[in-house]
Each structure stands twice: as C-alpha cells, then as structure tokens.
C-alpha cells in the first residue's frame, strides 16, 4: 500500500493501516542512521523547507537530519530569520516559499490550524511539526514506534500520560494514536490542566499521579511549560513537583517492566526526577533516535517518487 495523501497534519485523520505503514517504514530506516555513511540517495534533488515560527531544537534538528540522510536539500527558516519580524503574514510567506518550488514544507506554529491553512493554499506537501495546543503528529508516531519496538505491540497496553494535558499537543496526538491502535489511555494532571470533557476522547481521567500510574506499561511524562507559570495554573513549581513528579518511590506502583517516556526537553526534578530520567526504565533517548527514522519515513512516503 502507499500513503495516498499530500500532507501529514494530524494523527486524528490517519487510519490504522496508514499508521502501521509509517511505523514499519520507519523501522526499516533505523539501520541507515547506524551506517558509517549515513546517507541514501532516495530524495536527491528534492527541497524541504523547515518553517519554524516557534522555538525548537530537537524537532527542527531531527527533521533536518532526516532530510539530509535522504539526500534532500533542507533549508531552515526560524524565528530569528523569518520575515514575520518585518510584518509579513503567514499567507504571504507561504506564497513566496511556494514560488521557490520546494517539495515539502515542515511547519511549526503557535496557532492551531496554521499547517491546515497552509496545506489548502499551497501544492507542496505540508508536515505539521506542532500547531498550538492542537497536534504534534510526528511526536506521537515516534512515541508509538518506541512503544512497539520495546513492547512488541501497542494494543492492550496501559499508557498513562501525566502533566499539563490541556496545553499539550503531544498528549492530544498520542491520545488519538494510542486509542486507535488499541491501547488503554489514562491521563492525569492538576485539575486546572485537564481539559473539560477529555473523557470524550476515550481516556480514563485522574487528578492524582499514584492512581494514574498503578499497573501501567508506559508512563509518558509531559514537560511543564514554565512559560505558562504566569497563568497561575498551579501555585508553585515546588507544589507541582510534590504531587506530580515521577520518582523512584511512586514508579514502583507501575508494572515492573514499565517504560518511562518524555517528549523533551525535560525539567529535571520538576516533572521527573533525574534518577528516573537517566534510569533503566527510561527510553527518552530511544525516542529521539526513533524520531529521525519516523521523519525519514514520512518524507520518503510523501515526496519520494512520483507525486
């Protein structure tokens, strides 16, 4: 089968077959990054623009490395170089980029739906690298790939997602994906960080870390967005970490072979204690490795070959 779509905008509109195709293709790409010559000629002559309106190191670097290992030319446009500083709108930026004829545009934007608008306007493939608090599909795909790699399956597993669920595009994309693939998803966080009606997404909800992680196979800790402290969603970082920091005491409530995941960047000692982040349960760096493979797979499936 092939991925019969122009863009990757969210996990919500991907089918189970499409997710499996992406994960299996990504699995085959892992090997390329372990070679001495980490490059294959597949996307020679293709151009990929990374258009990042929000700060990012990991995701942007990951996309750039993915493109380069496939021999594509990658160009980064980020906050400091963008012409938005000079007042240009997203629409005009996009039209100008389109006129230079790239093959794919990877976009991160603080406004939910920005990639969707772009996808309707331009003929190039659009990949959503995070839009507001909406979706972050490549993160969910690399998370699912890591789970599948370590556990051999996704269906039937119990996964707890803990932290600021309301503002997390990582949580939203993972909930869509994991439920689609047959996992049981539990979310937990302070009441102010749990969106109203989240149960409608098919998850179990707790406002308590200990209850949420009991007997789970996977714990996904979310980053506390320190920049949101001004919104007074929680009284203090210390109080948050008293109740919601994953540490060596509370982790014993989960299954013995639990995996600890985190999309990064981690706030050591706030949502996750250093000994857990660096400990034997942690697969945080495997997630980063798999991120490159997932992005290679998407670029190959979207713009490799005839369009």
């Amino acid at each position: 089968m092939k991925l019969a779509r122009k863009d990757i905008l969210g996990i919500k509109d991907l089918s189970i077959d499409e997710i499996n195709l992406i994960l299996n293709t990504a699995d085959s790409f892992i090997e390329v990054s372990t070679r001495e010559i980490k490059k294959v000629p597949t996307l020679r002559g293709k151009t990929i623009v990374n258009l990042f309106f929000e700060a990012s190191t990991r995701t942007r670097t990951s996309f750039e490395i993915a493109g380069k290992r496939l021999s594509a030319d990658t160009i980064n446009i980020s906050a400091s170089t963008r012409s938005v500083v000079k007042g240009e709108t997203l629409i005009d930026t996009a039209r100008n980029l389109e006129a230079m004829n790239p093959d794919a545009i990877v976009i991160r934007h603080s406004a939910a739906g920005a990639p969707h608008m772009l996808a309707r306007m331009v003929k190039q493939s659009i990949i959503n690298a995070g839009d507001g608090a909406h979706e972050h599909p490549t993160q969910a795909l690399l998370d699912m790939m890591t789970i599948k790699e370590k556990k051999g399956k996704i269906a039937g597993l119990k996964v707890a997602i803990v932290g600021d669920i309301a503002h997390s595009r990582v949580a939203r994309s993972n909930i869509y994906g994991l439920i689609k693939m047959g996992a049981h998803v539990i979310v937990a966080g302070p009441a102010m960080m749990l969106p109203r009606d989240i149960e409608h997404m098919g998850v179990t909800v707790h406002d308590n870390l200990e209850k949420a992680i009991r007997d789970v196979d996977i714990i996904m800790m979310l980053r506390i967005q320190l920049e949101r402290q001004q919104q007074k969603l929680f009284p203090s970082l210390r109080e948050y970490s008293n109740y919601f920091c994953l540490n060596r005491q509370n982790i014993t409530l989960a299954k013995d072979d639990v995996l600890v995941m985190h999309p990064g960047p981690i706030n050591r000692g706030i949502e996750i204690s250093p000994d857990i982040a660096d400990g034997p349960y942690s697969v945080i760096l495997d997630q980063v490795t798999n991120g490159v493979a997932v992005r290679m797979a998407l670029l190959y499936l979207l713009i490799g070959g005839k369009q």
Partner: protein, 180 residues
C-alpha cells in the same frame, strides 16, 4: 488461455545451487574473507541456501547479509507505485571482503546497479561478484553475472517467476506470457 511453462523444478534448482556453491569456492579459493549478500526478497532465500551448502562442503559458516535496494532505485521518480521499504541487515563490515551478491533473476541489471551502490555505502569490498539463479537477458546496463544457474532466453512480453518453498511453498521456475 495463459501460457505457462515450468523450466526448473525442485531438483533442478538444487543442483544449480550446488554447482554455484562449488564455483564460488573454486573461484575464491575457499572461504577466506568470503561473504554473501542476498537481495530482497528472492535473493535472500537463495543466499541462505548457498550458505548451507558452503557449510556442508567446507564446514565453515560464512557471513550472510540482507539488502533492500528500494532507497537506491532509479525508477522511484517514474513509478506511481511506491515499493514498501523493508529492512537491510548487514551486521558485519564489508571492508576488504569478497562479496557475492545473490539474486533470483538477472534482467535489466538495474537492480544490481542499485545493489552495488548500496554495498559501496557499507564499506569498500575487495571485490563484488554476482550469483543469480536465472539470467533472462535484456540487459540495459553493462552488467553480467559471475555465477548463473540457468540461462533462459526470454521475450520481453514474458515474465520469469522464481518460486521458492520459503515464500511460495514450492520450488520451481516458470515462464509465462505477461497478461498485462
């Protein structure tokens, strides 16, 4: 009605592979620095069988790698179908190795071109040789096989299919008129 002819059966395939195994050992004067790389998917099973035969003859297990050439194809830009990428697994260095590339059918030579480009990305082999079960002619590149099971002159509107027990449940080579 579809014209179909069996040109090689179980015994025929086995005898050809036995002869190829002897030829590989003779040409390379034994198994030193020798390794096999099978091209997905048919070549992998044939390479595995050659490895067993060489073990029986010499008592030595030579390294075996698996190569998927999808990422090196020259027709990706022209084909609507996107081939499904499968794993490449060459868990040993190719530097200074005598590499015997194994495939089921040699046709245009384009697959072998892609495979050689891929191998060079894994190191600098001392030499690369090519073993195929069937050579059906119609080369589009200056490539030839070192070890051939059977030369099978065919016309372009015929297709040659190598069926192997490991994937098709039967060992045979058939030549049939292409219905497309």
């Amino acid at each position: 009605m579809e014209q179909k002819k069996v040109v090689m059966d179980t015994d025929g395939i086995d005898r050809s592979l036995t002869r190829i195994a002897y030829e590989i050992l003779e040409r390379n004067k034994g198994t030193e620095e020798l390794c096999l790389v099978g091209i997905r998917t048919g070549g992998v099973y044939l390479a595995e069988r050659l490895k067993q035969k060489i073990r029986r003859l010499e008592g030595i297990d030579i390294p075996l790698g698996i190569l998927d050439i999808t990422l090196y194809r020259d027709d990706l830009r022209h084909s609507d179908k996107k081939p499904i990428l499968a794993k490449t697994d060459i868990p040993f260095s190719l530097d200074d190795k005598k590499v015997v590339l194994v495939d089921d059918v040699l046709f245009t030579g384009r697959t072998i071109r892609a495979a050689m480009d891929a191998l060079i990305d894994f190191g600098r082999p001392k030499l690369i040789q090519l073993a195929v079960l069937i050579d059906r002619g119609h080369r589009e590149l200056p490539i030839r096989a070192d070890f051939v099971g059977k030369n099978l002159p065919s016309s372009l509107w015929e297709s040659v299919v190598v069926k192997l027990t490991e994937k098709n449940g039967i060992d045979e080579v058939v030549i049939q008129e292409d219905t497309q």
